[in-house]
């Protein structure tokens, strides 16, 4: 499903963010990516959705080798994965409904499909009753739920999240995790970079720890393992 083979990433300024990553993630897995700040977690995530191009090595996602994909085909690859960020990345001028529908509009889905799918995912993240509200009328947790809804509305087999609970208070973070658990239970692969020790240690899943751009630990039922 997701495979990285000897992946290296050196930024143009000379920073070596990834130094030979080898990893295999099975379909339907739930994986935490942990490690100290500056370890290379975000770079790891960015290489997966091709925001960054590895300097060396290959990344195979859903059977597609990203290194061999032409620039024009990148949008096709991105349609098979949902991406979620710490800062939600919602469009302030659009309502909740419109923000989610946006993901389908830009890939030219039919209005009928858009309506069905948007209501379906808003139901899943429990925001059906706030569909007409604007992002600034919502709490942080609700905003993140909108962004999750947007990431899965296209029914991607993989969801990638970079510190999705980083901006949220602990209680809200748990609500968000419930949604990720639900998404994963429906068969979607989830890869999540996180700093949240409580969550990693409570909802135990596979843990990949990165330090200095290398995988230093990879455990099937791991714990957070850091003291922050």
């Amino acid at each position: 499903m997701i495979e990285m083979i000897d992946v290296w990433k050196t930024y143009p300024n000379g920073v070596m963010a990834l130094n030979g990553i080898d990893v295999y993630i099975e379909k339907g897995e739930f994986v935490y990516v942990v490690g100290p700040s500056g370890a290379g977690k975000s770079t790891f995530i960015k290489c997966m959705y091709r925001e960054e191009k590895p300097t060396k090595g290959s990344i195979i996602i859903n059977g597609t080798n990203l290194a061999k994909v032409k620039e024009r085909q990148i949008p096709k690859v991105r349609r098979k994965m949902g991406v979620i960020f710490q800062d939600f990345k919602l469009l302030p001028r659009l309502t909740v409904y419109e923000n989610v529908a946006f993901a389908l509009e830009v890939i030219e889905e039919s209005p009928k499909v858009i309506r069905e799918r948007v209501m379906e995912v808003l139901d899943l993240v429990k925001l059906k009753n706030k569909a007409r509200m604007f992002p600034d009328e919502l709490s942080g947790g609700e905003q993140q739920r909108v962004s999750i809804a947007r990431s899965i509305v296209n029914r991607p087999p993989v969801v990638i999240a970079d510190e999705p609970t980083g901006n949220l208070d602990p209680e809200t973070a748990w609500e968000i995790m419930d949604i990720f658990k639900e998404i994963n239970a429906r068969g979607t692969t989830v890869v999540m970079a996180t700093h949240n020790k409580e969550i990693v240690n409570t909802i135990t899943k596979r843990v990949i720890a990165i330090e200095g751009g290398r995988i230093v630990r990879d455990e099937a039922k791991g714990d957070y393992g850091y003291e922050d």
């Binding site: 096709k76 991406v83 990345k89 469009l91 946006f102 993901a103 830009v106 030219e108 209005p111 296209n154």
Partner: protein
């Protein structure tokens, strides 16, 4: 592309134009000034060319033949002249024909000359037409070199001055217009850049959810095109109204004898179409140059 997608791009383009109202206004104004000058210059140039073609009949070279030459050799001389570079045709005109033409062209006053028929003061002549009116001076010099030629006449003053004026006007016009076109393009490209920056987040999200570059580019493309085309509206109105007025004045006051201007109907619609085209091209070009840089992520 699906129609609803196109509609979406269209709405996006116009929303963004409204959001950056002042920059849009500046771009449209730049295009307007540019096209105003272009259209006025074009209208003037086309008319000068048109007038030049009207007096082209006067743009002939008259080479008078030495009286000592024998008419038997005229055929050979005519061939020699026809062989010259840039010469279209050569016609022989005897002195009798020449006099008749002169008398006729002078009308009543010409009667006086009728008495001269016995002692014709004119000479036999060749009338030479060049490929292009601009060539008359050069060809006239060549013709002068022939021994059998006594004197060469052509509408020296008027013709040469006319072409000097058209050439100068054309050069100045092209220079000015090119400068203005680039200014307009620069302004439009900056406007589009601004709209891209304000929509940066949107573009980022579009890319994340798998929108193609083409899809992202369309609204900017439409916006640039619209800015350019809007800029063409005022110049079209001005040139249409202005030209009609000038045309009427010239036709009434100066009469029909001297000059005639190009008729309004084919000229103005053609100019209007051209202005729309130039405006559109400037706009699209301006927008594409700024979008290209931006989408390379």
């Amino acid at each position: 592309m699906k129609i609803r997608t196109f509609k979406r791009h269209f709405v996006e383009a116009f929303k963004s134009m409204g959001r950056n109202g002042w920059m849009s206004f500046a771009s449209i104004s730049a295009v307007t000034v540019t096209l105003l000058l272009v259209s006025v210059f074009l209208a003037i140039l086309l008319n000068i060319n048109f007038i030049a073609s009207q007096i082209e009949d006067d743009v002939q070279i008259r080479a008078y033949i030495e009286r000592t030459e024998k008419p038997e050799s005229y055929d050979v001389y005519q061939k020699d002249l026809e062989k010259l570079d840039k010469v279209k045709s050569v016609k022989y005109q005897s002195k009798e024909e020449g006099l008749d033409e002169l008398i006729e062209s002078l009308g009543d006053e010409g009667e006086v000359f009728s008495s001269l028929k016995e002692e014709n003061p004119l000479r036999d002549a060749f009338i030479i037409y060049t490929d292009k009116p601009q060539d008359t001076a050069v060809v006239a010099k060549e013709v002068e070199k022939f021994k059998f030629v006594n004197k060469v006449e052509y509408g020296k003053g008027t013709v040469e001055k006319l072409f000097k004026v058209t050439d100068a006007a054309r050069n100045v016009g092209i220079f000015l217009v090119l400068g203005l076109v680039f200014t307009a393009m620069f302004l439009i490209s900056n406007t589009i850049k601004l709209t891209i920056v304000t929509r940066r987040r949107e573009i980022e999200i579009m890319k994340l959810v798998g929108a193609t570059n083409g899809f992202i580019r369309w609204p900017f493309f439409i916006e640039g095109f619209a800015l350019g085309v809007f800029g063409a509206f005022l110049p079209i109105i001005v040139i249409a109204v202005g030209y009609q007025a000038v045309f009427d004045i010239v036709n009434q006051k100066l009469g029909t004898v001297f000059i005639e201007l190009l008729p309004v109907t084919p000229l103005i619609p053609q100019l209007a179409l051209l202005m729309l085209l130039i405006g559109g091209v400037i706009g699209v070009w301006g927008s594409l140059t700024s979008v290209r840089k931006f989408l390379k992520i």
